[in-house]
Symmetry: C3
Subunit: 448 residues, 3 copies
């Protein structure tokens, strides 16, 4: 890549970074959960940017080993002292309520109330985020400072009000489908069930949205599907309802926590060396930034479902700091200050580069395989006598010719030549134009 190309891209990054950040700001206040109005409102905002369809799956629907839960809605929720002061109130932060808390309006003594409170003693000013979808009960999250202040008041009574209901409603998810030349699909999945947390996972939501915007504006080899689902139960629901279409999914990415200042982390698919794993490793190795690649493990986010043994999609997980490994994770400190526009932009760029490799990664057959073709008379060499003087572009041409035997894909060649994929793709374009290469896969759908 030339310096000028690099420069242009950085400018692009910054403007998308700011725009994605603005969208995250807009979405931040909504009280999302695995079901309920917060998710619906969030998806509605996304529809202003991309052709997103909203799906509602009724509570009680069987999805593999699971069942779509009842829908949880909460109005006000607070703890008031004897003077009527709201000492904890979700009007201040929607993290204060444990998701799926039962309704209650009762007077409760401190010794009882404290057993319903969750705090972070190590981060005394942060509110933890908790949810408890499949158990009954109620509870509040608060800062440890708030807790200590209440503890100091001694054994007094508080009024606890949670105006919540658990109804036969629906699980809501969003889906974007961008048809490509082939019915083979790339699946991008991101979770939408967290309330006011920024990196986890407004970052994934906005980056997925921007990828969709970008691929909606180009004609693509693959079809692209983006799903915005509640974590775990949403992914399971989507898989159960779309089982027939799964064989078309050729590659995929789970996007999660892609907006913090940490370096990129990629977690491989369960298959270890799927094409997406190799494409990502290649892109990261040729990027200028630090990164980490991890092997698959059956923990984390929705890759757990997409890579379960009966599903086993070729999907990896693109992150920055991995979930659970930074202190702000699942606390009020994962806020808009924690989110960085340039990190969003870098994650978008990385994801697009990975997908671009997949788009172009096919195998060709050198049409002049017996010895080198005469590059000079095709304008591909300055002169016959200077075969070793060629710059990087000419070397890429020779690598592509040398290994385009129908068995090596462009990614194989880029790896072998240790060249950025772009150079190999560019060389390929030049050689196709010169009729020196033939695509072995007329029907891209039949690739691999």
């Amino acid at each position: 890549m030339s310096d000028t190309t690099q420069h242009a891209r950085v400018e692009g990054e910054n403007s998308s970074g700011e725009a994605m950040y603005q969208l995250a700001c807009e979405l931040f206040p909504f009280h999302r959960g695995i079901t309920g109005p917060g998710v619906r409102a969030s998806l509605k905002v996304l529809q202003q940017h991309v052709p997103l369809q909203v799906h509602e799956v009724p509570s009680g629907t069987s999805v593999y080993d699971w069942e779509v839960p009842k829908e949880w809605r909460v109005g006000s929720a607070y703890i008031a002292d004897a003077e009527g002061n709201h000492v904890v109130d979700i009007a201040d932060s929607n993290l204060h309520i444990i998701g799926y808390s039962d309704a209650i309006d009762a007077t409760v003594a401190w010794s009882e109330l404290r057993t319903h409170l969750v705090t972070l003693p190590k981060h005394r000013g942060w509110i933890p985020y908790r949810s408890s979808h499949f158990e009954s009960g109620w509870g509040f999250c608060l800062t440890h400072r708030q807790f200590e202040e209440l503890e100091a008041r001694g054994e007094v009574d508080y009024r606890v009000v949670i105006d919540s209901e658990l109804i036969d409603g629906a699980l809501t998810y969003g889906e974007i489908y961008l048809p490509g030349a082939s019915k083979d699909e790339v699946l991008i999945s991101t979770h939408v069930c967290h309330p006011s947390l920024a990196n986890d996972n407004l970052s994934g939501i906005v980056v997925a949205t921007w990828i969709a915007k970008q691929f909606a504006s180009t004609s693509n080899r693959y079809s692209y599907r983006f799903i915005f689902v509640p974590a775990t139960i949403g992914a399971i629901t989507w898989l159960a309802l779309n089982a027939k279409g799964l064989p078309s999914i050729r590659h995929g990415l789970v996007l999660t926590g892609v907006g913090d200042s940490g370096s990129i982390t990629y977690k491989r698919s369960r298959r270890d060396c799927a094409e997406i794993d190799r494409a990502t490793a290649h892109v990261l190795a040729h990027s200028a930034y630090p990164y980490e690649i991890r092997k698959f493990e059956p923990f984390g986010y929705d890759e757990r479902q997409y890579c379960s043994p009966g599903i086993d999609l070729q999907m990896g997980c693109l992150m920055r700091s991995p979930n659970g490994e930074y202190p702000e994770y699942h606390t009020s400190a994962d806020n808009l200050d924690f989110l960085r526009p340039d990190a969003l932009a870098g994650s978008l760029e990385t994801a697009v580069e990975i997908l671009s490799v997949l788009e172009a990664n096919t195998s060709y057959v050198n049409q002049n395989p017996m010895c080198e073709p005469q590059l000079g008379r095709r304008g591909l060499y300055r002169s016959f006598g200077n075969l070793n003087d060629g710059g990087a572009a000419q070397r890429a041409v020779q690598w592509v010719l040398s290994y385009s035997d129908g068995h090596h894909s462009l990614l194989d060649i880029a790896e072998r030549a240790n060249l950025p994929f772009d150079q190999v793709r560019h060389a390929t374009d030049v050689l196709i134009e010169q009729q020196l290469l033939l695509d072995v896969n007329v029907d891209v759908g039949a690739t691999e």
Copy 2:
């Protein structure tokens, strides 16, 4: 493994270690050789501990490229000076006579006698051990100090008496067979032909005996066969006479030199990556002790025969300090002081752990392979929202579910997850109980 389990095991080690050591002490004085009464007497002692059958193979029996040798018996053997003092006498140490020495009763001048004497100039107080089964002649082994004392006496005559005979007798070996659920066998082989040497190979004899005691008291997947054979010719004889049964042998271990203070050494089978090789590497990697794994080479003890190209059993060799690599090897310094009860116990523990991995190592199929099963309602998770909070046991459950696709064995999963095999086995037991796993091999005999 919890601390308490570890603690219980260490206690068990110590008591077995002492018991094995006591048995070695009992066996130490016998004058064993590749044939003869010493081996018979030793096997008779073992029969007090385990259901061992004694086999006698007549001298002259053809065994592949070899022939069972004549049986060698020795009564008294000494060198006396002119005054009738026995300057060297096997009454002091049965190492003094070179095994299979011809009978002699003659007066011999020092200049002639000295050519029949073997010493260790570098270890002046040690008697070397030598045997010469397939050549005629006679000789004595003595300390270099003894030799120097005689050398100082000058050219005087000595009476040399060896009351030995070479008769048409038999080669004796012992065998224990413990039937299991499958006719597939694990073969444990140890050599029994060395006179008063402790580590080589009373250590192997007592550890093999204790493994047999242990597996005789449990019901096992595999059948177990233990053979106590003279080195080389005994292993060849056993293989030749049992050729029909060899296809049933699925795994095996040669035990040799497992009682010294060195760390465990494992020598791989000729196949490099047989299941026993992988199981041993896994057990050693998860042990708290240093160890070394070596690739196969066609030298050493009876693995040479078991891994010869036409036999090619999946057998490795478990040792501590490898034969020939410690100065005490094949000398009188390989005595009961050199043998350590705790080393015997540790070797026993390691061997049993390896065999336990093989016992349990099969493949299962996740019966709920489409997405994760709901672990919460099966009591396998505290709550749906805390999938990442699980302790090691819960993580093992997820690993087993994720890779139990019929293609990955439990050892594959343990290696991939980098978990001790016990954790994976425990998770498997829990999941079988929950009907979430099905054994793909109803007939264990058909495994692999």
Copy 3:
């Protein structure tokens, strides 16, 4: 290898080294090019040493994507100043003229002339070597000091004379064929198109000649073919005209730049792990000298053609300092001082050792595969009781017996045992004599 063997070989090296060096001196002055009288004269000299056939391929012959160029001949060529002094003249060095320069006899002003001059500002005393076969035009190469001297004279006129012609002639190459037991061939290729350059590639020419002399004097398993061709167009021409015979080529080496003081560099074939690649890696690993092994890349010398995807021969490239990576490359400093007799001798030795491995590398079957054969009674062991005392030769015997199962070649065994190939071959010879090994490939032509 014993010290005495080593010593004898070193003496041999020195005498071949001197003889090869003398031949290079004889060939140095000829004005070679990709066509023309210089190549013909050079090949004629080689015919005094080896049974070399000279082939002429007419200009205009189609060879794959190329065409044999017209033949270029040059008589005098010089630049004269107003006083008639020849300031540059190929009578001084045939590097002064750019190969394939058009004929000219004209008066040219300095400002025009200087655009036709090539110098090396970083090496002010060296004349560069340039050729421009497929473009029209003319030019001279000179030292930068000469250039500066002319530059200082200012804008004056010069007479430029190039008495060259481009005729319908031929491309000339030489070929030696040494029939062996099998029609399977080893191909040695070296380029002959460079004028007075010593390392590139008189070194390759003389080493190839000496390999041919050596293999002409022995009876060989493989047939050997040596070709002396102009770089690129010569290799392409030979391949196009000999396409039918290519399937017989089992192994091959390109020899280039094998006479400088650098350590040996081997560039693997496009297949990465062809037998020649493994044989060379083995020989170099067991040599006493530093070396480098590089992976294949589609740049360099004629391996580009031999390893093009439609040809894909199992050919590597043996060099010392790789082309383009030493300052003397393609300059007048690549002269006879740069060439070292001992380096030529070492390259010859290395090439012969590699070819000797290929000659002997076949698979055998142990005829006594059930346990070890009794080596003692065959004189292969001192005694039955001392199996571990064997020296290297005895160990090699055991390695060969252990892995001669028809699946492992001698090179496989040498690699596994980490033994020099010679030891494995020697052990094999002993075992064949003892009828303990049988060659699985009666018809060597059918190997692999």
